[in-house]
């Protein structure tokens, strides 16, 4: 294998027709049991463009791309690559056809190095060393060309998500992909990481590569794509030139109704201090200090937004406050100190004290995916008197409660017997939110409330959080989405390297300043 070759604006790969679209799908259909995930979908993706695909959760975007990548087999329809009919029975065939895919959930081996992940499946010979040596050289080249710097010898598990994503892109480039599919690549990225990614994508496009980008964020579509296709309920509803459309039009195409793109909220009326954190320190099991003395306050009736690049201690902050990990320092809730270690520093005691917690990672922490919806509604609250009869659980009460919550939070499908794993991300998030918000806590901890959630659901979730604030509750919001921080927060704290870099009021700052603070620079000084 040689380094990807590229000449002016066009791939060197033999193309039967220079005018043929890079990809053309004709009449693709795919059903999972009774669910028709893709219905007779046809789409053309022009060579050398960035093509966006949007749609609600469960619209069928990932399914369509998985078919293109040979992960699923379509029930009917055909695929044309560069104008030629191509059979893609497996990923090997897709790779041969020059397609690379970056999955929403990365396909990386956590305890392998970057280099090992890159060469995996594309090794040169039976022995590793030559491949690794060559890949290392190539990575240097690619890094130079596309601003894709990563430490080749770092273990994936020690890398942030942004870096992991670069590794995924490098994997595709290493395989000389001409067509790159990215499924919700920015869901976990900070704004600056996302900007960097888009610079890379534009660079790749200018080299002649074709890029398909799936996202829920209309701003990104407007920013970076040339064309955009909209999917709804398994069907392709429209394909338009990005230049000829607007976010509100796209939103309407997606959801089938008008969507509020900005949250309406009245100014906060902060009450007494609910949460007071002083000199909070956390050391992880590797002995690294993750929180280096945090001080903050959240008052009743206000939302404190914590911004920061992922991995700067926000997760640890939430986990300590939620009782998942131990810490030192003082934390008081309504003036009463909380235990930060020992048997009473656990999630149960925190809930009794009046703290509710919507964790950042709903799959890992917030839900038991193999439990039913009603079982998940009791999760963490399973020993509350309303759900118990002695040592037994009052399942009827729990189910009735779940039905009510599902209705009020518009969870679809509203079937409390379904397993959590069979709901879409947005609906899973609503189940968690309903559980935590409806406990009417004094303090709500929320991490990444809208990650991977479509705009219809985002609107809904944001409204609920504002309502809770207006009911006089304190909310600590952690998000890497600056948009979200700006939309919801009454005060903004920026975290960097386990410390609070400073606090700003949303009206008196902007993304640039926050971005600098998030990078560890004092925004005010400059």
């Amino acid at each position: 294998m040689t380094a990807p070759t590229h000449t002016e604006g066009r791939p060197a790969a033999a193309a039967p027709s220079q005018t043929a679209p890079a990809i053309e799908l004709r009449g693709i259909s795919k059903a999972f049991g009774a669910v028709q995930a893709n219905k007779d979908i046809s789409i053309r993706v022009e060579r050398g463009t960035i093509h966006g695909i949007i749609g609600e959760n469960g619209a069928g975007k990932s399914t369509l791309m998985s078919i293109l990548y040979g992960f699923y087999k379509a029930d009917s329809g055909e695929i044309l690559i560069g104008g030629q009919r191509t059979d893609i029975p497996d990923s090997q065939a897709a790779i041969r056809a020059g397609i690379g895919m970056v999955f929403q959930h990365f396909k990386l081996v956590e305890n392998f190095t970057v280099l090992e992940n890159v060469v995996l499946g594309a090794e040169d010979g039976a022995f590793l060393r030559p491949s690794l040596v060559k890949a290392r050289r190539l990575l240097v080249d690619l890094a130079r060309e596309y601003e894709l710097n990563v430490d080749p010898d770092a273990k994936i598990e020690n890398l942030g998500v942004g870096m992991q994503q670069r590794v995924e892109i490098l994997k595709a480039l290493y395989r000389q992909a001409d067509i790159l599919i990215l499924d919700e690549p920015t869901g976990v990225l900070t704004p600056s990481e996302a900007d960097h990614l888009f610079r890379i994508l534009r660079g790749l496009r200018d080299e002649g590569k074709t890029i398909i980008l799936i996202t829920h964020k209309l701003r990104e579509i407007m920013d970076v794509t040339d064309n955009v296709s909209v999917m709804r309920r398994g069907e392709m509803t429209a394909t338009v030139r990005t230049a000829d459309t607007s976010p509100s039009e796209l939103a309407e195409l997606m959801v089938g109704r008008k969507v509020l793109l900005r949250v309406d909220k009245t100014p906060a009326r902060p009450g007494p201090v609910v949460l007071k954190v002083e000199n909070l320190k956390v050391t992880d099991d590797k002995g690294v200090e993750r929180l280096r003395g945090i001080d903050l306050e959240v008052r009743a009736g206000e939302i404190l937004g914590v911004a920061g690049v992922a991995g700067n201690g926000q997760s640890e902050l939430l986990e300590v406050l939620g009782g998942i990990s131990d810490a030192t320092g003082t934390v008081t809730l309504n003036g009463t100190p909380l235990d930060l270690s020992g048997p009473r520093a656990d999630g149960r005691s925190r809930r009794h004290a009046g703290i509710a917690h919507v964790p950042e990672d709903r799959h890992r922490l917030g839900l038991i995916l193999d439990f039913t919806a009603w079982e998940n509604t009791g999760f963490g609250y399973h020993d509350l008197p309303d759900y118990c009869r002695g040592a037994l659980m009052d399942q009827t009460a729990l189910r009735n409660d779940t039905r009510g919550k599902m209705e009020r939070f518009d969870v679809r499908p509203a079937d409390c017997w379904l397993h959590a794993k069979s709901f879409s991300g947005g609906n899973q998030q609503k189940i968690v939110l309903a559980r935590e918000i409806e406990r009417n806590p004094d303090l709500l901890l929320v991490g990444q409330p809208t990650r991977g959630v479509d705009i219809g659901a985002i609107e809904f979730i944001h409204q609920r959080l504002i309502e809770l604030r207006d009911a006089g509750k304190a909310i600590l919001l952690v998000s890497v989405e600056l948009d979200e921080i700006f939309a919801l927060s009454d005060r903004i704290a920026v975290m960097f390297d386990g410390r609070i870099m400073g606090e700003r009021l949303p009206g008196q700052t902007d993304e640039t300043e926050l971005g600098m603070m998030m990078a560890g620079m004092d925004g005010k000084a400059r």
Binding site: F32, G33, R348, R350, L365, G366, I368, H382, L392
Partner: protein, 363 residues
């Protein structure tokens, strides 16, 4: 996804699997030069064809219910308890101590005490591996295997040097006094045709009660909810305030206790004394029973009955057709485990396809 009606899922598929296992067994019997039809007939009649057969089938099944439930409960917390063998052996010690140390006036008093003794000793033997897993992260699979060996050494020592009747050759305790002996099937079920020899005894009802208790525990109680949640995701359990150490300890104590209860059947009910190796591999069969029963008490009950029937049918086979050596039964068991447990999808796939096609045809 509901591609199959429920009855097909829980009855048809296992039945096909079982048939396949028996067919292959028949093939093996034919290969060693015996008549498979006759052999199968002997086995089935021997296991379930008479009250006599049932007396044994249910006795063996009782053992497997206890050890199967033990493995199943631990499985719900994603703990693989291979230590049923040792825990049941220690349970035997507990039962023997209870039965021998008090002059019990009547079995109705001795039984609850023995249940307590067996469960306590079994639980105690599970406690150390559990504690090491919970606090030191020592892999419970290794520690429970080790504890099986340690248990057998301990029991040989105690039986030879401490508990043996002086002057006797046999490394076994004295026979339990009259008041500590459990009524056998003959005592309460003679009208059903159970003979004097039936080892089946009231411990069977203890086992059934345990099935119900485990079902309630796992699916109806808060503790069961916590155990299942912990088994699904330790991280999420922590988020919910479910304490890992406590959950591991409680689960393993229950598991060990259940294994220990096996002694109520085998030691108190049947042998009426403690002998060397009173467990006879039932701890390991319990693993197969739990796996095949999908860790559900009803499944465990059915799988235990199946294995009990195989044990008893096999014994009859051995008696009626001496040319078939007793290892044939082990082979049949293996094939049953293989087909009904591990190769389940081999049958499931085609059957599902059949139903899907039928449904498509209907709509």
């Amino acid at each position: 996804m509901d591609t199959m009606p429920r009855w097909a899922d829980i009855a048809l598929i296992p039945l096909i699997n079982l048939t396949l296992a028996l067919l292959v067994s028949a093939l093996v019997i034919a290969l060693i030069g015996e008549n498979p039809a006759q052999a199968m007939g002997v086995m089935i009649r021997g296991a379930v064809g008479s009250a006599y057969g049932w007396g044994y089938t249910l006795y063996y099944a009782t053992n497997f219910i206890f050890t199967g439930l033990a493995v199943a409960v631990a499985f719900h917390a994603r703990l693989f308890n291979i230590g049923g063998e040792g825990q049941a052996a220690l349970g035997g010690l507990g039962v023997a101590i209870v039965c021998l140390s008090v002059p019990w006036p009547h079995w109705t008093l001795a039984l609850p005490a023995a249940v307590l003794g067996g469960a306590l000793f079994g639980a105690a033997w599970a406690a150390i591996p559990a504690w090491l897993q919970a606090t030191r992260g020592s892999h419970i699979v290794i520690t429970t295997i080790m504890f099986n060996f340690i248990a057998s050494a301990l029991l040989v020592y105690l039986l030879v040097n401490v508990l043996k009747v002086p002057g006797s050759m046999a490394p076994e305790t004295a026979r339990f006094p009259e008041g500590a002996r459990l009524p056998s099937a003959y005592d309460w079920g003679a009208w059903m045709g159970f003979g004097r020899s039936a080892p089946l005894n009231v411990a069977f009802f203890v086992a059934l009660a345990c099935c119900v208790a485990v079902w309630v525990l796992i699916w109806k109680t808060r503790l069961g909810y916590e155990i299942r949640a912990f088994g699904q995701s330790e991280a999420a359990a922590k988020y919910a305030g479910i304490r890992p150490v406590r959950t591991i300890m409680i689960t393993m104590l229950i598991s060990g206790g259940l294994a220990g209860l096996m002694a109520v059947n085998a030691v108190q009910g049947e042998a009426e004394r403690l002998v060397i190796d009173s467990v006879q591999g039932a701890g390991f069969v319990g693993i197969a029973v739990a796996l095949m029963g999908r860790s559900h008490p009803l499944g465990v009950l059915l799988a235990a009955l199946l294995f009990g029937a195989l044990y008893q049918g096999g014994a009859e086979l051995e008696f009626e057709m001496p040319a078939i050596s007793r290892e044939m039964i082990v082979v049949i068991q293996a094939l049953v485990i293989l087909f009904t447990g591990a190769l389940d999808n081999m049958v499931r796939g085609p059957v599902e396809g059949l139903f899907r096609r039928r449904r498509k045809g209907a709509t």
